[in-house]
Symmetry: D2
Subunit: 243 residues, 4 copies
């Protein structure tokens, strides 16, 4: 029996990360990473009980040693199966406050949760992705962006600095690794995602929030694109969103 390829998703909570894991688990084994096991334990149980194969590991991807150790555990667990897809989706780091009130630590968290975390994630996943060009779909590395990836709004300096840096990294990697057959993409999620925590927000239009399952379908679609036709950047938003 052939070994199932692996998809790895960093940043799994109630929204995009969990839905991406569910979607990719239809075809692959999935490894899910969050700082807090509470964020992935129910998801791992759900996937494993419905015929999929999931494995959760707790790690802070901004800490390169901790992350590398988690990464090693994953491939020990999955017996060095090939890596088909890697999704970087950590949510942390959103600070909304006047600039002069942002502390050094808050700025560092905003910057590092995105930029340094993505650097560590790409450093460990790319060598494996480069070996997976013979799988059914081109190996894929997807970064989750936000409105703050393309717009530095007032009071969002820390988060926007991290998200802009993440987009720079995504562009640079797409240009370097695309020609080597790895599909690098960046998805700008522009709007509120429909998760338990946001249930009370903006309820004038009941369907005015991004559906994480629909977001995940788009991640999967990008993954299935052949290397002749790679999409790099797509912006997703609810129909009533102002932009």
């Amino acid at each position: 029996m052939a070994t199932k390829p692996v998809a790895i998703i960093v940043g799994v909570g109630a929204g995009t990360g969990a839905s991406v894991a569910r979607r990719f688990a239809k075809e692959y084994s999935v490894a899910v990473i969050a700082r807090n096991p509470e964020n992935y334990d129910p998801l791992v149980a759900e996937i494993n009980s419905s015929g999929g194969q999931a494995f959760g590991v707790s790690a802070d991807v901004t800490d390169s040693n901790a992350w590398q150790s988690a990464f090693n555990q994953i491939f020990k667990h999955f017996k060095d199966a090939p890596l088909a897809a890697a999704v970087f989706n950590p949510g942390g780091g959103v600070t909304w406050k006047p600039f002069l009130e942002i502390t050094e630590d808050e700025f560092a968290v905003g910057l590092n949760s995105q930029a340094t975390g993505a650097f560590n994630f790409a450093k460990s996943t790319l060598p494996l992705l480069l070996k997976s060009t013979n799988l059914q779909h081109p190996p894929t590395l997807i970064f989750t962006g936000a409105t703050a990836s393309v717009r530095g709004s007032a009071n969002f300096a820390a988060f926007a600095a991290g998200k802009f840096a993440l987009r720079a990294l995504a562009q640079s990697l797409a240009r370097e690794f695309g020609p080597q057959g790895v599909h690098v993409a960046h998805i700008v999620v522009d709007g509120v995602i429909d998760i338990p925590r946001t249930k009370e927000w903006k309820n004038e239009h009941p369907d005015a929030k991004l559906d994480p399952a629909a977001i995940a379908d788009t991640y999967w679609h990008l993954h299935t694109q052949p290397r002749t036709t790679f999409g790099f950047e797509l912006d997703l938003r609810p129909y009533i969103e102002k932009w």
Copy 2:
């Protein structure tokens, strides 16, 4: 028996337009428009002989009267079936020459083939798309862009003027009609498409050209997005493309 919804595609030749028609014909009746019937006759025959329903009309979409007459023929043929999707994909107007050698007529062709054509197309399709919000997928209006949609290169003034104007129109329509439930999207096709006419180009990498069938899969994917999660702009290019 329920009436099959219609997809309408303007600009059908050997590449994107024909592949989009084939893809949408799996679910819908398709109307295909080109100036020259030679461009769609074989496609219409192919779709109709393989169980689909296609109808071709010859028209120049930059001529509002000629276009409106063609449009009326289509819905007479399809007995006022609902319009599910409209794709604007005319290829004309690429002029590559030093600016001082571009004639008034060439500039007008570059500008109008894209901007005026798209205006006429949107004026006739949007009223029908607005009535189709109860179909399985949100009604969708997709415009085909190019590298010249986001970059005015030397010697491409006429084509870039048209493609920039088209992108402006797409953004404006997305912001106005998105909240009314119509999905407006703009796809930047960045690279050479693999069609008979380009067979001889850039053959160092045999798979270095965009696959029109893969492009069409992405058009279809955008069409299936729910209105909670509309994608507006995606750029597609071959893995080895410099950008």
Copy 3:
């Protein structure tokens, strides 16, 4: 006595165009063009009575023959003096209305007032600018943009189509003619300009509108940049403007 070089400004009313003419008239002879002589007659009188040299001509720059005739008059008047700077600044074409209410003619006016007008203007001025690389400052061609040059807002389809097309043209010309020593620039004027017609608008902050004289200082600054250090695009807005 050396012949004074000429600056030519199309689109002279109460705002940017008139201020640019006043600023450039400190160094050059200026030719000012508008459809309606009422728009430039007081300005021409003002400049001529204060020691400058101004000449006004009435023409519609979207009509290539009418424009060429006006252009010939200017250089007959100024005895074939060298052309140092050309500024394209027509204001027409702003239509703000729901897309389905925009008429064919309104769309054509929005598109042509910017794109076709700029094409005609560039076609006649560039051959002269190319001969002026020996003047004190590099010969300069400046296009006036707007918010609608970089954003297609709802209800602005016609104006945005024209302004996007104009920006495409500016980019293409900068890339083609920069290496030949002509400075091509595009200024995005983002906000309300302080002119008589706008006196009643937004008066919460008395200085919340763009000062046309300050805009003109920036046009002049760009003109004085050496060819080692050409600025292409700058956005100008009042300090309280939301963007």
Copy 4:
């Protein structure tokens, strides 16, 4: 006698920083900061010996304590004179190598030299700039960008991450502090600057490199813009530069 306002420039070597200091020293006292006193000592001597007032301090702006201490020295030296302009121009952090060879430290240097340094710089200068809205020109905070501010090229991941983050910060600060009367701007310097270290590069066109004195003239021009007419972003490049 009125106290001369101060301009402060971080990142002073042979290029932009030194020229900006010379230009602003015509009107203001200038404080220049670099890690290595060798980078500013000759400049300080030059300005002081030609009638200006310059003061140099050695500091690493990415170290908030060291930076704050340097900052305090400056205003002790200049007896709490008002701060008229602050320019962030550190050059460090350019790493050009394949992504998988970039070390954690190199990535951190690229990111922090720009993003964290700019955060520290803005945190200390903005409270003083906010008090200077009564000076002749609006108080100004200018950040120096690069091609890598708007494009993540292959092999430039570390530098582009820092420069994108810096641009996010600049946008966010412009939107927050503009309405409070502080002019925040971002200049994209796109090309090779003409300094001793680059003398041997690209010498096909003898004037194909950015002139730091011309760059400085543009910084000064932006500083003199009134608050009705703030420029946010300008790109500067040599006339023959490909872009």
